[in-house]
């Protein structure tokens, strides 16, 4: 319990850092991007909206500490201004409409990559010198060396443009509207294949190699030799004794690498024009939509931190040594 509370404190701190970063960036960066934004879009806004954005971005005469407190208050009440590029929708609404797609894409890809990658790693370490151990890692390292977006472009070109097997863009066909019908779900699934497979293919090698290396270290432990001496079946030793222990560092690194996966997913979304927050983030950057940009950054950060916290709770369940101390 103590451990969990300490981690919670840490994540709150990290979140506070990212909010503060968000607060400071527009106020101290050279070049005054905010005035460019206002110059472009002021004419469309109501005075209240202008005032709110001014306060959010520090075009404001109040003392800094007061601005900061207001800013914190705004963030925690979800007041992040209106989106410029999708005027006049509030930032929170824009994000709420898109985060589901990102969760779907990122979640699916992550789940497949983690499960399959770790299984491959376990098997590779178990049969040292076998096919999985000697042939697969170099191949996966090579594939993993490609930039996410480039592989996505390649997949799009090959399977979308040339072969025409999969749709080229968006999360569902134009003209259909979201509903829980078999037709719509399969349409969404079809749109999901290429982007998800790209993410899986690029990231799976990392999971596999990390698991393989941990497993190799674990296999040298005395308790594995003891389990063999006990005459246990290989499958039981592999999963209950070796993998079960090798899993612990893998769980920790899962949290750490989440940020990278999110980054990769963003780029993939851009290539496939997948309507998630990553695609929206790029649109925001191009449209000088700073409120939306910041909102998306905070949302992604919060999501990563929450998942990390969940991972910590799982870790406590998995490692009896942490549970007690």
């Amino acid at each position: 319990m103590h451990f969990v509370l300490r981690r919670l404190g840490f994540y709150l701190l990290a979140f506070w850092v990212s909010i503060t970063l968000n607060f400071l960036l527009p106020r101290f960066m050279p070049g005054d991007p905010v005035s460019r934004m206002f110059a472009r879009s002021q004419s469309r806004m109501t005075p209240e909206q202008i005032l709110q954005l001014r306060q959010l971005f520090g075009v404001d005469d109040r003392p800094l500490w007061q601005q900061y407190l207001d800013y914190l208050g705004n963030v925690f009440t979800g007041e992040m201004g209106v989106s410029i590029s999708r005027f006049p929708t509030p930032v929170v609404e824009v994000i709420a409409g898109q985060i589901g797609w990102t969760l779907l894409l990122g979640g699916t890809a992550l789940l497949i990559a983690v499960v399959v990658g770790n299984l491959l790693g376990i098997l590779a370490a178990w049969r040292r010198g076998g096919f999985l151990d000697s042939m697969l890692p170099p191949v996966l390292v090579f594939v993993g060396s490609f930039p996410y977006f480039w592989l996505a472009m390649g997949a799009l070109y090959l399977f979308g443009v040339s072969f025409g097997w999969f749709p080229l863009r968006h999360a569902f066909s134009a003209g259909s509207s979201p509903a829980w019908t078999g037709e719509f779900v399969s349409d969404v699934a079809l749109h999901l294949v290429l982007p998800a497979v790209t993410i899986v293919v690029v990231s799976i090698g990392g999971w596999m190699l990390a698991m393989r290396n941990t497993m190799i270290a674990t296999n040298a432990e005395d308790y594995i030799v003891m389990a063999e001496a006990k005459g246990l079946r290989p499958g039981r030793i592999m999963f209950r004794y070796a993998a079960r222990n090798a899993m612990l560092p893998a769980v920790t690194s899962f949290g750490m690498s989440l940020g990278f996966v999110v980054g990769g997913a963003l780029l993939t979304e851009v290539v496939f024009a997948y309507p998630g927050v990553g695609y929206q983030l790029l649109a925001a950057v191009q449209g000088l939509d700073y409120p939306l940009m910041q909102g998306i950054f905070l949302t992604i950060t919060a999501a990563v931190l929450i998942v990390n916290f969940l991972v910590d709770i799982v870790y406590v369940r998995l490692d009896p040594r942490v549970r007690v101390s």
């Binding site: 070109y157 940009m293 950060t301």
Partner: protein, 659 residues
Amino acid sequence: MSVTESTSASLGAPSGVGSRPTPNARPDLASDASPPPGPAGRPAPRRGLLRSLFRNRKATVGVGILLLFGALALLAPLLAPGDPMVITDAGSQAPSAEHLLGTTAKGQDVLALTLWGARSSLAVGLLVGLAATLVGVTVGLAAAYFGKVTDDFLSLVTNVFLLLPGLPLLVVLAAFLPPGTGTVIVVLIVTGWAGAARVLRSLALSIRAKDFVAAATVTGEGPGWIMFREILPNMASIVMSTFLGVVIFGIGSQAGLEFLGLGDISVVSWGTNLYWASNDGALMVGAWWAFLPSGLCIALVAFALALLNYAVDEVTNPRLRVPRRRRAGVRAPGGGTAVSGAAEAVTGPAGANGHGAAPVLEVRDLTVEYRSENRTVVGADRVSFTIGEGEVFGLAGESGCGKSTVAHAIMRLLREPAVITGGSVRFCGRDVLAMPDDELRSHRWRDVAMVFQSAMNSLNPVMTIGDQIVDVFTTHERVSRTEARRRAGDLLELVKIERSRLRAYPHQLSGGMRQRVVIAMAVALRPRLLIMDEPTTALDVVVQQEIMSQIADLRRELGFAVLFITHDMSLMIELSDRMAVMYGGRFVESAPAATILAEPRHPYTRALMNAFPPLTGPRTELRGLAEGVRFTGIGDLVEVAGGHWVAPHDEPHDQEVPA
């Protein structure tokens, strides 16, 4: 100290007199190394790292690719067909003799763009790698060296930075900063240093705890000296792999940022090439040549760096290297039985076991080799002995002499690189080395069980001890879980531990309790032979006594034979019926324990016995192993008296080689 090292050179005496103390240098304190020999505790010296890297194929391929790209980038002005920025009206042309890689939608030459792009991409990657690693090293070292509040603060900052999702942060930072390559570099350093700092801090912490750092502190060296001259050189391989990792990150992220249009799109780099290709809709018109080369280059460079990184890992941790597929621990083809006169010795000591019963275990000419790429070391050399029903057979010798190797070979638990190359192991007449896997599994634990050296490490830390005992029953006998659990409880009570502790995890028990749990587990199936490999080494003297008397009680009750391995001669003589002394993989003496105590014949036996002071009686001067007793070319045992077998030797003083 591993078997490999010890048999070859530094047996007996602490050879590195005057040098920094290495762990396990004193045979009387060290625990016997169990196979396989792992990597040495000390980090490999830098020169060794580089030399090993040169021999590593992955490293050579990686360096080759990197050198090639480096050369291409440097020579771009000479090699490139014209200025990449020249816009012509020959747009979107497929590769041809005129334009080897075709042209972009604006009519730029793709080959020229790719060659020039290498310059910016590689330079940014290198710069980011150097700067971020430097920051990471400094922060990591400072945190580890100063500790306390500094460490708390720096670790906190590091971890926060690690947690913030990289790309979104990059995007937001780059969006606020004026566009340009400088911005990209700064932003990448800001987001890239934390990973390096985290790895290096934990490594520096472990090195800081080592003796030589303490020594430097005592001699009054300043923090700078200690951090950069004492600690840093020992982190070379990790610093290098961190650097490579950051360069990969730098090149990849730069490309990502530029692809999103957040860099300076007027600069030619692989990332901006891809940005333009995407912007011009190269994919939609099927102009694959516009985006293929740059992406391939990024991938190749990243792959080369990853290979190099992987090679560094392999060199520092040889276990990661992919072994040739071979079944470990089983007789290698062609490894026939070594011809020797030792076979006679078998019948000799066995016949004299004083029990007159049929042997439970019969080991004959057992030879185990540790095979590596460069050399082969013999871990056990034509070892022969038998253990009768209910007999306690002791095996004594210093660390690395091959005791554990013999024990593991008997249960066929040896792993790569150890291979049984000759001899036989028979259990009640059955050939253990010839057993197929299924039979071997049911033989293990049911017939022969083993108590390993360290109870702390031989229990699975994430399973309750109850589940670990239940595993034995459910694997070997058709019993329900409830029944298995009941019997597990009985077993715990047998070694005087409450049943309720079945639900405990290993870390919740004391060292002595853990070892008793292991002993209980070992007798679970009433095996006829129990191998005890230094069962009390890691325990304090009082607990040792408890454990030993418990084993004696169990033996009285269950009547199993024991192969007892230790370097503690007094304990061994007290417990064993017969015993053998082992040195450098060979037996040097074998006799009833009382005989060895009364008249040890071999000079090594005498040296070993003198290494331990008697607990009672007048004080005597210790003349132990420190004198530097070394033997080579030990011959086969010869019977010198009834049941007393000794390897031929000259008189003690002729054989002693000064250290």
